[in-house]
Amino acid sequence: MSLDRRSIIKGAVGAATLPALGGLPYRSARAQAANTIRIGVLNDQSGLYRDISGPGSTHAVQMAVRESGITQRGINVEVVQADHQNRPDVGSTVARQWYDQNGIDVIVDVPTSSVALAVSTITREKNKLFINSGAATSDLTGSACSPNTIHWTYDTYMLAKGTGGAMVAAGGRTWFFITADYAFGHALERDTTAFVNAAGGRVLGGVRTPFPGTTDFSSFLQQAQRSRANVIGLANAGGDTINSIKQAAEFRITRGGTKLAGLLVFVTDVHSLGLEVAQGLVVTESFYWDLNDRTRAFTQRLGATPGNLRPSMVQAGCYSGVLHYLKAVADMGVAAAKASGAEAANRMKAMPTSDDAFGEGTVRPDGRKVHPAYLFEVKTPAESRGAWDYYKLVSTIPANEAFRPITEGGCSLVRS
């Protein structure tokens, strides 16, 4: 078959019109119904955070809308989603377009700290509301805090405190860090080191791995093993973490009694790694589907998320955050909630939170949602009794200790 110009034109026109007719992503907002709340779920739909957030977050948000009973009050809710590709420039473009063109009132989720910081800035500029569930940086309620941003599920402080502090209490007294050599990795290592020292542990050493582009962690892992530390801390994320865990399993490091502590690992990562590889890994999360009767009931109602996965803490946080927001909307009225994102945030801070995923909690004046955090250890294949039975609880960090004290974050919303 020869490729001539005409056949290519025909093919290209055919291929181009099909998706275009299927629906353009930014349909301009039709007649702005005054009693419609528009929720935009902005997260990673195609990359490494797809499983922890992605379409599953939208799924959870839709359940929150159903369970809030808000439509019975005559209030419409529209949920849209978009992919930010983990790039702050893409994320900020979508956020601006959503606020300017599509009448979005609240943006939810937004994993990847750099994108979250960008969206927080734009949300404040437009006086809308940003409920973050997916991003880790504690700056969102610290130096970069905003009256329009609520940080729901977890943050770097919680991870460091849980994995660093609670781990030492549970017997992991000496540490060695494998750190991705960029700002995020350095911050994780620094924060965790502080908690390890405060809890009476000791850091024996560490190694910086070039970022991006390191795929072979074997020499770093051997260095860690030679240090004879009880705990190897993985101050990295995404593919780096997965690779280091896999290669640690190949060296049978965790079988020799050394604990591997992942500072940013989610239950869906454990699922994709498999128990054979991930066993013995220690992680901190604020939600686990099999934690108690309420979380099991929540997971039951949610059903399998797209891709047939159980909910991650990020997706549970999207549910919980939107449910609380819609309670605030019902309380203050749609018009007031749409008029000012800061006012909606204030109302959310004034009301106690309650849902099956996180139990009872509160939202602090700096925008930090507080609830307990849990230190888990990944089960061995022999201990696991069924599908998704991955974690055993090591210790619980109570809500008032799990997050950075409000006075220490340097948030301008807090009067000291």
């Binding site: 291929a15 420039d89 750099s114 910081l117 960029y182």
Partner: protein, 331 residues
Amino acid sequence: MAEGSIATAPSPGAPSVDEEVFFGFTRPQAAAFLALVVIVVASPFVIYPFFLMKLLCFALFACAFNLLIGYVGLLSFGHAAYFGMGAYVSGYAAKEWGVTPEVAILLGGATGALLGIPFGWLAIRRTGIYFAMITLALAQMVYFFCVQAPFTGGEDGIQAIPRRSLFGVFSLDSDFAMYWVVAGVFLGGFLLIHRVVHSPFGQVLKAIRDNEPRAISLGYRTDDYKLMAFVLSAGIAGLAGAVKALAMKIATLTDVLWTMSGEVVLMSLVGGLGTIFGPVAGAAFIVTMQTYLAEFGAWVLVIQGVIFIAAVLAFRRGLVGEVGHLLKVKL
């Protein structure tokens, strides 16, 4: 006017389509330029200005790139370095030093040009694939510098860049006001490139592109010409990056990543290499596609790849080149 050794003086009768009638434009080019100005002026009243600003910044970037590939025949695969560093420097200057936008934009352009001097000096010693590889390697060095250097903010980038007030007088806080600055810089840059291409200097560049040994034998120091074109192209790329940083209020690693260098190649190719309007059309096409197909996520890259193959196989003149060929005019 130094309109050129090639163009003949306009005759009072019926001028042919190849005659230059205004600022080095031939009659069809002048008509196309007029249409471009009308579109640039009218579109913010109809289309979302924020999107238009992005489009114009990339259009200028593609024009800068086209100056090198289209008129000197040098395929640079590292233009993201000048674009991205221009964005970083102007963003940093506006945010941390509090300079006014015109100063920030000029600083960004100067950064691109200054970076272009050593890089160009090194790269122009080779041609073809070796030239492309050297520019790519140098751009990757810039990328790794940006990942590590504290002033770029690493993976966060420089965020919340303030636009402040033009000349300290006109507030640029609204997207609509900022659009006119972007449009002004774009049209200025476009005219500058057009002027350069149609000057005696530009004629020498084209001579080098078509037959370098002959240009040397005629006594031209071709390395000097190539370096000047390289620095000019890098400077305008830096200018485009600087304006983008202010318009989008953000400068990130995406701007210095090698994929950005690839995208600008694609824009120029789709629009038409060596045509003055081609890069603008190509940038408009690619940016619109990326924005409106964003929901397909990673598939956008696949679609871009297919378009690239289609352009190379069947539309080698590019969008504008093919239109010009159909109408038998040079655009």
